[in-house]
Amino acid sequence: MKKFYAFVQKEFYHIFRDTRTMMILFALPVALVIIFGYALNNDYKNIPIGVLNQSKDQTSEKLINRIIGSGYFVVEKSLEKPQDIPSAFKLGKIKLVLYFPAHFQKELYHSKKAQVQLIADASDINTAINTTSYLSGIINEFNAENAREINGGIQISTRMIFNQRLLSVYLFIPGVIALILLIISALLTSVTLAREKEMGTLELLSISPISPYMIIIGKVIPYLILSLLNSFVIILLGIFIFGLPMTGSISLLILACFVYTVASLSLGILISTRVETQQAAMFASLVTLMMPTMLLSGFIFPIESLPLPLQVISNIIPATHFIVLIKSIMIKGAGITVIWKPFIILMGMTSLFLFVSIQSLKRNN
């Protein structure tokens, strides 16, 4: 145990003395979360819209005020007739037109239903989808609140699910956690073991009484501790800055981070037992781990929309299962009985990676 302690202590010295490692450990996660948070954020505020009100009655005015009051929209332009809509969009000042046909209120009270039309500028498809869904949400709320008076409701011509605006945050925080833990765990550990090879110190270690198992576990432990610390920072950033919900059990979340970190670390070790130099280790981690995780784990592209061969690859990426775990625990509040499968898959992967690395470390000797 004493030799193990000495080894772990040495690893901490390596980490704390290397500026690059320290940057990757502590500056990169925060920078990534902030960049992704603001760049990938689909939250809209003060969207300029136009209003074409041919009814000009009490209910339509009330609804318009309600929409402005939400803070998401600003009425930039008042239109007179439907023919003006294309030219208003061409100017590019407004993203959407809210159109109340004539006799809006009359129809609402008499025939119990009235049409309101949302016309969006579809040249910016994401904004179009999001703004119409925001607006639909507000109108539906308005309907519900005034159910007694208008007794039926305002019909909207575009119907979408209101939850849209939260989707980006839901997706990116688990993805960023997966990516950062992978960078720290896999990249840094693969480089640190490759460095021992390059410097010739691994030869010395293999002649000493310290066993290959101890070398690997001793390499992993400092990164495990620092990675776990890091994932908490990211999750806290997600919760307090980007409003990610935390509905599930915290201990289950910690367990998920732990299992995934160990899987990433074992991948890093596996890479480093197969390469000879630090550069090769870094390159291998970037190409075989970072890129697939970015593109195929469901972080950026939904897995369902990938072609079948890529879906298969997606399933052998640890991050895919970790993202499922994080989303299920944080957003859906799922318990272990529902999500034991990704746990088992990750643990299975870890034991496979570790087994292969210890085999190849032994063979190298």
Binding site: K2, K3, Y5, A6, F7, Q9, K10, Y13, H14, R17, D18, M199, G200, T201, E203, L204, L205, S206, I207, S208, P209, I210, N365
Partner: protein, 244 residues
């Protein structure tokens, strides 16, 4: 007296290739044994088997009384090792390197304290012991690496081209350290490319193509080949320039 290193018909095959072909020799306590040979002659393979890293294909070897094939862990505890590459961690201080090696050889806290004080005093490192190893000169690093290879008081120390890349004066000083350790009873097993260093050894073996072609004291070898330097002996054997 029982020899500290005892090798009997030791062979290692990699597939069809025979790296080490049934070599036999013995090394006594406190002896400086030069293990010479051209690159690829099988020196490294033999050394790896003796240090418990490779399992022999056939034959037997005992180091410090333990069988390298079946008691590798015990062998490892009783040997020291220093290679041509630096055996020190450059981003650790001298003191931290000492503590690390003491730690992996499971010395007690007190032993580490005493021995690190011994090393620091011997090499007059008190003023630099808290400096990172990468900032100290090459010659010092090698002396320190040698001291660390001896920190757990091994019975045998393997030196794999320990003096590569240093000037003759530093090399000479390094050999003083080797003599000192040998006088203390440590068996020295050394490979080198410098033939003047071969002259410093008590006995020398020269490997060619997996076989030991010559074994004896430097003066015996020079006499039997009728030349006046170890360099000439080596040229005759290893470079295959011997014409009978």
């Amino acid at each position: 007296m029982e020899p500290v290193v005892k090798v009997e018909n030791l062979s290692k095959k990699f597939g069809e290739f025979i790296a080490t072909n049934a070599i036999s020799f013995e090394v006594n306590k406190g002896e400086i044994f030069g293990f010479l040979g051209a690159n690829g002659a099988g020196k490294t393979t033999a050394m790896r088997m003796l240090s418990g890293l490779l399992t022999p294909s056939s034959g037997q070897a005992f180091v410090a009384g333990f069988d390298v094939a079946t008691q590798a862990e015990l062998v490892k505890k009783n040997i020291g090792y220093m290679s041509q590459k630096f055996s020190l961690y450059e981003d650790l201080t001298i003191q931290e390197n000492i503590e690390f090696y003491g730690g992996i050889y499971e010395l007690s806290r007190q032993e580490i304290k005493d021995r690190s004080k011994g090393i620091v005093d011997k090499f007059q490192l008190a003023s630099v012991k808290n400096k990172l190893v990468k900032t100290i000169p090459l010659g010092w690093k090698q002396k320190l690496a040698f001291a660390l290879a001896l920190i757990h008081k091994p019975k045998v120390v393997f030196l794999d081209e320990p003096t590569g890349g240093v000037d003759p004066i530093t090399r000479r000083q390094f050999w003083d350290l080797i003599y000192e350790a040998a006088n203390d009873g440590v068996t020295i097993f050394i490979t080198t490319h410098y033939m003047d260093e071969a002259e410093y050894c008590d006995r020398v073996s020269i490997m060619v193509d997996g076989l030991i072609k010559a074994l004896g004291t430097p003066s015996e070898l020079k006499k039997s080949f009728d030349v006046d330097s170890m360099d000439a002996v080596f040229q005759l054997l290893a470079r295959g320039t011997a014409n009978k």
